[in-house]
């Protein structure tokens, strides 16, 4: 997990997700307040099976501060068992946050959970958004 300083004000924070896989991928990004039971807010999702979320505004600094940004990607892998195993090991993801007072933050270390038959992989990354 990382912290990302969003500061305060009405200007927008932006998120970009780049999924690098030859499998079929879909992504969703949410923000929620982990200290309350308020439902999560979807702030972004993939537009096609690349799983990428093109750079987009995810909310104002005041809306986001104190919340957790979580991004999950589901990937179904194609091919034989050997091909799926190789791709499960190879695939990567990059997450970039922009417009915070400290500038952009780019990380490429999602939690990777692989099905035992290597058919499906889940990537997960979260950021705590601070003042």
């Amino acid at each position: 997990m990382s912290n990302y300083r969003v500061g305060s004000g009405s200007s927008q924070i932006t998120l970009e997700v780049d999924i690098n896989t030859f499998g079929l991928a879909a992504s969703r990004a949410i923000v929620l307040n982990i200290l309350s039971n308020d439902p999560e807010t979807t702030v972004g999702h993939s537009l096609n099976a690349t799983g990428d979320i093109p750079r987009k505004d995810i909310g104002s600094r005041d809306f986001l501060v104190g919340k957790r940004l979580s991004i999950m990607t589901k990937i179904d892998l194609l091919g034989s068992l050997a091909e799926r195993k190789k791709e499960a090991e190879r695939l990567t993801a990059k997450y970039i946050l922009h417009q915070g007072p400290d500038g952009p933050l780019s990380v490429s270390d999602p939690m990777k959970v692989i099905a035992k038959d290597f058919k499906t992989v889940i990537l997960y990354r979260e950021f705590d958004l601070t003042l």
Binding site: N20, T21, F22, G23, L24, A25, A26, S27, R28, I30, L32, I34, P39, E40, T42, H45, S46, L47, N48, A49, T50, G51, R68, S70, M72, K74, D76, L77, L78, G79, L81, A82, K85, K86, R90, L91, M111, V113, I114, A115, K116, D117, F118, K119, T120, I122, Y124, E126
Partner: protein, 388 residues
Amino acid sequence: MKKTICALLSLAILPGIFAQSVNNNVELKQLEVPNSPAFTLADFTPSLIQTPNTPKKFILGVAQSFADAGNAFPKNYSAEFTPYWWLKHSDASVYSLAGLKPQTNNAGNPSAFKQDPFHGLKFTGISIAFLNKDLIPDTIKAEQKMFSVGVRTTVIKLHPKKYYNALAAKISLWHDMALSELMTSPLLAQVAREPDTAKKRKLMENFLLKPSSTYKVAEEINEIILQKPIFSWDVASAFIAYGIGDTAWRKGRFGVWTNLSSFLPIALGDETEARKNYINLNFGVRFVSDNYFKDNKGQVRKANVVDVGGKIALELKGLTIGYEYFNRNGKGVAANETRSIGIISYQISDNLYINGGFGKNFTSNDKLISLLGLKWGLGRETISLPNQ
């Protein structure tokens, strides 16, 4: 159906096995563009082929084979790999895998996909082998050290437009289903609220144990990607160097294969069967330059041989019935050297085939040959699943 075909071919196979033992010059499929040209040019069928997925594993594999031979030339090492998989790709996606090029509309937004006929080039494969074998057809029975290297690629691959439309639509369906699952499942919020990292992982592992709602569509996409093209142009080449003595290396053989193929899908009642049933038309040229060629007078000399011909075949699911004709030209080659052979092949399982050939091969004196045999893919490296 499968059992009946297996039984009939098994009955037919027995005399074929004995026929094979008296005519070891004949090889099935010897004129096709080979998947592993380094092995084909050396008339070599490896019992184990390493498939390194990183340059480091490849170098370690070669080094290990030298170490196993006591730091001498390896007795038997073969590997094949696709360098594309060794590289990092910033644009990796299922679309680039399937040869779909995204198009944008006037506003610059993604609008449609069109096919990339050259996308097979990036999957160019390389095969190498270190061998000890008597490839020089003289009276001396002595093995030579051999280093063989080959390359194979698909230069052009074309599918009909409806193929790409169907593929793009199916991928879009998969994305809609997967995104809907992510939107409606409580998993993402549960993982986000869970403070313990190990428990986060456990939540996702439990999710993966449930039946997947999307994988059936993924398998359908896989089947579409595996469909044969309506037109393809394949090229392969290989070179062998012979080690004579301890230090001298000589050029042995060089070969180039090229094939133009067309797979015309046919439907037999069920529309979905069109994906597995084809009429295959094939035109091929093979050039082989051999510095140690035994001509029809029995003399060993350098020779260049060109084989030109084609094949027509009916492919019904795993069963292939066809006819292949090739004409051979070259100095020291008789004018009427031709290969005219009927072929039959049945795929019993993913890696097990029964192959047969009946007719006249280039070198058969009695004009008639018959061959039947099993071909199986047990020589590949296996992978194991992690302990459960």
